[in-house]
């Protein structure tokens, strides 16, 4: 009786948050479809309001960010469009439409710095990493971990099949290590590394967090930066080429 109760408890704690979101869910759905209708009617500003309202309810989805990105793009807010596409990419990294739109939007950034992440094997590895969302790779790692554990248990119990089970276990372990390394890369990229997008048309990056300080370099709308620290209304950022400077907090938005 007790194990059954434990299973029921686990199912409950997994499903409970989803049940609690029931009301919000229907509201998000209606706002999403309303936003789509406004988009079709080319009322992009209203579409943006609908999508943003849906997101303000605390729920998110890849297509929601994707459509918001499109609406911002049509509304000529390149920075916000790229920001939304990148947020969508974290939830649906394999989506071809999203990839195309993001590439096109990024190609419109003025003075864009092209970054090639690694060469040869490392480049292929980073591309592989980016094709998994964080949750997807977490699930995959967990499944492999459970399979490996089951194989170990079988190997303990069925001693006759130990050899074949060891081979299968080694393959599963290798896959698990690859998945865990991808997980850490993605975890670092998404959770630890604080990426932000320039949403102002042009943002001056200064040597000091002062209005009259000398401008070191300029950031264009849509450019990606990494947040180092924040001080009142100013944020210290690092550009992809390594240059660091202080920009107005309102000029950028974290991913």
């Amino acid at each position: 009786m007790k194990p059954k109760l434990a299973i029921l408890f686990l199912i409950f704690i997994f499903i409970y948050p989803k049940l609690a979101d029931g009301d919000d869910l229907s509201q998000v759905r209606s706002l999403f479809y309303q936003g789509n209708t406004h988009y079709r009617e080319e009322k992009f500003e209203q579409a943006i309001t609908d999508y943003e309202s849906a997101l303000s309810l605390g729920l998110e989805s890849g297509p929601l960010y994707y459509n918001l990105g499109n609406a911002y793009f049509k509304y000529s807010a390149l920075g916000k469009a790229i920001l939304s596409y990148l947020r969508a990419q974290r939830l649906m990294p394999g989506d071809a439409d999203l990839k195309s739109n993001l590439e096109y939007a990024q190609s419109l950034i003025e003075g864009r710095i092209l970054v090639v992440s690694g060469k040869g094997f490392m480049r292929a590895y980073f591309i592989l990493c980016r094709s998994f969302s964080l949750d997807k790779i977490t699930w995959l790692s967990m499944i492999l971990y459970f399979i490996l554990s089951s194989l170990i248990i079988f190997a303990i119990v069925r001693k006759k099949a130990k050899k074949i089970l060891t081979y299968i276990s080694m393959i599963t372990l290798a896959l698990l290590i690859i998945c865990i390394s991808i997980f850490f890369v993605q975890f670092y990229r998404i959770v630890i590394q604080k990426e932000a997008i320039v949403i102002a048309e042009v943002s001056d990056s200064k040597f000091e967090p002062l209005d009259h300080a000398t401008t070191f370099f300029c950031l264009n709308e849509g450019e990606s930066v990494f947040v180092i620290t924040t001080k009142k209304d100013w944020t210290k950022v690092r550009r992809i080429d390594g240059k660091q400077g202080w920009v107005k907090k309102s000029d950028i938005e974290p991913l």
């Binding site: 997994f14 998110e60 994707y66 439409d97 195309s100 303990i156 975890f187």
Partner: protein, 617 residues
Amino acid sequence: MQKYKNNFLYIFAFWSLIFNFLIYVPTSFAEEIKFEASIDRTRVSLGASLQLNLSFYGAGDIPRPDLPDIEGFDWRYLGPSTRMSIINRSVSSSITHIYTLIPLKTGKFKIPSFTVQHKGNTFTTEPISIEVVPGQVALPQEEQSKKFNHGIQGLDDKIFLILQVDQSNAYVNEIIPLTVKLYINNLSIRDIQYPEFTHEGFSIDEFVQPLQYREVFEGISYNVIEFNTNVFAMRPGELKLGPARLKCNLVLKKRSKRKSRSSFFDDDFFDSDAFRGFFGFRYEKHPLNLGSIDIPFTIMPLPEEYMPDSFNGALGNYKFYLEADPKEVNVGDPITLKMTITGNGNFKTIKSPSLDTKDDFKVYDPEIRQIQSGKIFEHVLIPRNEKVSQIPKVSFSFFDPESREYKEITRGPIAVKVNPSAGGEELKVFGIPEEGTGIVRRKEMLGRDIIYIKDRLGRLKRKGKILSQNKPFLIIQFIPLFVIISVLIFQRRKARLEADIPYARRLRAPGKAKKNLAQARHLLNSKEPNKFFDTVFKTLQEYLGDKFHLPTVGITSNVIDDLQALNIDKQILDRLSECFNHCDRARYAPASITREQMRDVFKLLEEVIDRFEGIKG
């Protein structure tokens, strides 16, 4: 993370220091020896004295040379001054023998050259001219004009600034190396800032790290700080560069009256502008604003004659390379065309050589990278159709100021192979037929825009929540581990039960006893005392047999003797004996057994088993 970063930096800094020490220290010992004579001024009044320094650079152990008689002067040796300095990571040692020269008469004199022998080598100094004048010495007008008024009298010989260029005329965009030298003689100078100067019509680079060395200028030895940069003129005409200005602080030592002991900790002790030494000296900072003369330039326009069509303003002496990668693509795939320009000249003004691809390629704006002594332009070219067979030639031309002529370098064409689009993308369509020509292929211009919105909302999730930070999810990760440990324990126990029979019997004993006790309890209420006592006896036999690994069948009250040998509590054994006696009595006289007695025996049996369970087997 920061902690590891810092640790890494410390390790890196430590190894850098060790490396630098190993690389640079041995080379510093192989320094060349230089011998120089210098004086502290070139004009001196009769009755005053001047200082003559004989300096050996690169050696610190050379004894003082004996001076010959010097015409017009008497001399006296003051002593040596040794010095060890590390400039730009090279260690140098020097010794200066200091003499005082006292003029004996007015006129122009020449201090002759001195010769010294050291380790088989002969070193000779340059002669120095000195003018001895009657009365106070005044600085010549010319010298004063070149030096800037810095507000402190008598410093003109001690510190000044010189702006130097190697040429007075140049072409527009031609790189002109520029040097600003700060000469310091026996002064303590702090907070030296980078020079600034007026450069209308010129573009100026940032100054590189300044050099520091000693130089004898007009017979006087100076510490020189040299700032180097490059400038180039942006328009033709008569232009002026400078005057250069430089800000620094002069630190002067002044003897001051010592204040009372209590004032030692007064605020002015910590004053940033003036602070007091422990021996009654007071150091004062005086800001100096030094300046140089300006330099006129004639900037010539580039000749119009023979100017190539591809000329785009580049000036210098360059090499030009052209590469394309990959050389085989599908229609619509990008080819990177890399144009590399290396050499000497003004890279700032170099623009990408023009690329005439007609309509064969879509050409994107180049990505520009400045490398050391070079510039790279990377164009992305996208072939529009599979008929494209080459990237056309590219010409780069520049004006060489040395040979005063234009030069043109042409590279290419580069052969490329373009395959039809892999995805079957139609790049060509059948257009509207023109009159009399039938069906004509017309090139289609592909548009580009974003792909339309999505109709489905997709899977919703809580914002900012990630699975790997979900507590129940993390707890579940322990389940396999728990199961593996449980299986391992179970397997071990199973193996022991199979291998260790006494252990297995001992483990089974209480379970079996419990079952037999239940049966006995059931018989307690029946009217068959024989069966009850048989069960009690059987329970004792089986329990003791299993517990102490004895043959069950042979167990009777005699077993108590064997158990005594195992040091079991006598009280327990007495109770066991009592239990066996009851069983024996009941067998021989069953009619005399009451139900009360049966209950007592049952309780006794329970107690015995219970107490045996308390004993470790």
